[in-house]
């Protein structure tokens, strides 16, 4: 029983970070109907941003977070103008391919510069022991920060004028334009925020595990699973979906080989896509 409880806590801690990564993906989908296939590459950029700020410049890992966020936003807005702006409103094939092209370029450049060997950002925090199980401090802080960032996104979307504009564009771009909202800027901003969330989650993951240039792929696929669980375009659902996926991973790993985990995730993913296309939490939005 205590073991299951420990697995649940582990799952929730890691799940909140999956949720954060997926929020970036789902926000971009919700606002502009673009599935950002460069998501994984951007998560990796977040990891390496932390690596340079922390290991090379010697900043405290958590103090680097605001800088990572600023860089992430800049990268996101740049990517919007380079690869996404021209494919808005065209068939989904085009945006899938253009963001995938960005993914190839980023991964290709990353592999050329950083090779595919593992990197590591050492962060030491005291652990917490409870009922015979130890929870590392970095996991707890990372989960807390993920929840804080998710809260900030909520405030941005629901308590500011800009957020209102973002939601208006998501609901109906043409009508928003008629109401005087500069929709193109709003799209660029939304893409920037989406990429920022990916950067932040990449940075938090980098404080927990070693990473390589190719780590992004696994997190991108987890983000897809989470996004689909929570319903495409639904940030709150993404956070719940992330916790749900984390729970599954946490509870299942003691009972089965880890190598089967991705298989279960993707079967779940395809199943949910077919059976519950608007997410398993969609009943809450009736």
């Amino acid at each position: 029983m205590a073991q299951i409880l420990a697995s649940v806590i582990d799952g929730v801690l890691i799940g909140s970070i999956y949720g954060l990564a997926a929020m970036g993906l789902t926000l971009i989908w919700g606002v502009m109907n673009v599935i950002n296939l460069s998501h994984g590459a951007v998560i990796v950029l977040g990891m390496f941003a932390l690596y340079y700020l922390s290991s090379v410049l010697g900043l405290n890992a958590y103090a680097a977070l605001p800088i990572v966020i600023v860089i992430g936003f800049g990268v996101g807005v740049a990517l919007y103008w380079i690869a996404v702006h021209r494919v808005i409103g065209r068939p989904p094939l085009m945006s899938l391919l253009s963001t995938f092209a960005v993914n190839m370029v980023l991964i290709g450049l990353g592999t050329a510069f950083w090779s595919t060997s593992p990197y590591n950002v050492p962060v030491s925090l005291p652990s917490v022991s409870w009922q015979g199980y130890t929870y590392t401090g970095t996991h707890i802080v990372a989960a807390a920060l993920a929840v804080v960032i998710a809260g900030l996104l909520y405030l941005l979307l629901y308590r500011t004028r800009v957020g209102k504009a973002v939601r208006a564009v998501a609901a109906n771009r043409a009508a928003a334009e008629v109401c005087g909202i500069p929709t193109t800027q709003v799209l660029a901003l939304s893409f920037g925020v989406g990429v920022t969330l990916a950067f932040a989650s990449g940075m938090l993951i980098a404080t927990l595990f070693p990473f390589t240039v190719l780590s992004g792929g696994a997190y991108q696929l987890k983000s897809f699973v989470v996004t689909v669980l929570g319903g495409l375009g639904n940030p709150a659902g993404a956070l719940l979906g992330g916790l749900f996926l984390g729970l599954i991973e946490g509870v299942a790993t003691p009972f089965m080989p880890v190598s089967w985990m991705p298989m279960i995730e993707f079967v779940l993913f395809v199943f949910v896509l077919i059976a519950f296309p608007s997410g398993i939490f969609s009943f809450t939005r009736k």
Partner: protein, 326 residues
């Protein structure tokens, strides 16, 4: 006097025949082994691109997991040859049929999804199959399956086998082109193009969209599966990372887009050009690390500025080619 009505001549099937025959004969006559190795990859890429085009170009469905069928076909082929000692022709054919049946069943399920949702599901299918095979012990798990040299004995030893596999691969390429052309000119193809334009409208007009989509998914799996069987029989080894490489899937999409999606000749031209470009980039010192970057930039430029590819460009500039190059 015979009156030839020019507008009824369809030169394209002859073009397919000429390309296929010259693929088969040129390395044979010149006895040029390195040309053969170069062309077998081109033939493989043309088969993959042209089969993907049935989904991507005709029906308008993005399939990121097209390589699954190639890998599964390879696994069936190598498994049947190495463990059950079947002849390679029978093994690849059975593999191709088995993969087509699997694809049809999959297709009925996941093709209920449309557009971006379907594209996401295909990535999921690719990863799920790859993880499944990595953990599937009868197929050798993560380390894969090997063929011993004895496997090549029935075809007259390894050296002879390479030529036979080459001719078979070229034949598969020719079949894929003929299939692509035949489908484009058939009622089935018309239905697919209608689905690509507007699926709801097509359904309203009586196109059995669900069956057609599952059929095209299955048909586009058949020849890649056979090509996979031949390719991995030639390599003598198959393992999951090589068989289910998402990058190869994407490169196939680049080929189709480069040549021009939805045309018969486009994927051929795209595959051939991309294959030559890749060969050049891999050998040129300065670029060997940047192959992915250049493929990515190429794809980005095509998508943003020339979404109908080279064929679109040629058709627009030289309208008379529309009848000659379909």
């Amino acid at each position: 006097m015979i009156i030839v009505r020019l507008n009824t001549i369809r030169p394209f099937p002859w073009l397919i025949l000429i390309v296929t025959v010259s693929f088969a004969l040129v390395p044979w006559w010149t006895d040029n082994v390195s040309l053969r190795e170069n062309l077998i990859l081109a033939a493989l890429d043309i088969t993959l691109a042209s089969s993907l085009n049935l989904m991507l170009g005709y029906a308008g469905y993005v399939n990121f997991g097209n390589i699954v069928m190639f890998g599964l076909g390879g696994y069936f082929g190598v498994y049947l040859v190495s463990v059950w000692h079947w002849p390679i022709l029978v093994a690849t054919l059975v593999g191709g049929i088995a993969v087509s049946v699997i694809a049809y069943v999959f297709g009925l399920g996941i093709l209920r999804l449309r557009g971006a949702y379907f594209a996401l599901a295909t990535i999921g299918v690719n990863e799920a199959v790859s993880v499944f095979v990595t953990n599937f012990e009868p197929w050798g798990g993560a380390s894969g399956l090997y063929l011993s040299l004895d496997a090549y004995a029935p075809l007259g030893g390894p050296g002879h086998t390479l030529w036979i596999v080459y001719f078979l691969m070229v034949a598969v390429m020719g079949l894929s082109l003929a299939l692509s052309y035949a489908i484009r000119r058939s009622k089935f193809g018309l239905g697919l193009l209608a689905i690509g334009e507007n699926e709801d409208a097509a359904a309203t007009l009586g196109v059995p969209t669900r069956i057609y989509k599952a059929m095209v998914y299955s048909v586009s799996a058949f020849l890649p599966a056979i090509a996979g069987g031949l390719y991995f029989f030639k390599s003598g080894i198959i393992e999951p990372t090589g068989a289910f490489d998402l990058t190869t899937s994407i490169e196939t999409i680049v080929m189709v887009m480069l040549g021009g999606q939805g045309t018969v000749a486009g994927p051929v031209i795209g595959a051939f050009l991309y294959e030559e470009l890749r060969g050049y980039l891999l050998t040129a010192q300065a670029f060997s690390h940047f192959q992915l970057v250049i493929a990515g930039l190429l794809l980005l430029v095509i998508v943003l500025f020339a979404p109908s590819g080279l064929m679109g460009f040629v058709h627009q500039k030289l309208p008379f080619t529309r009848r000659w190059l379909e």
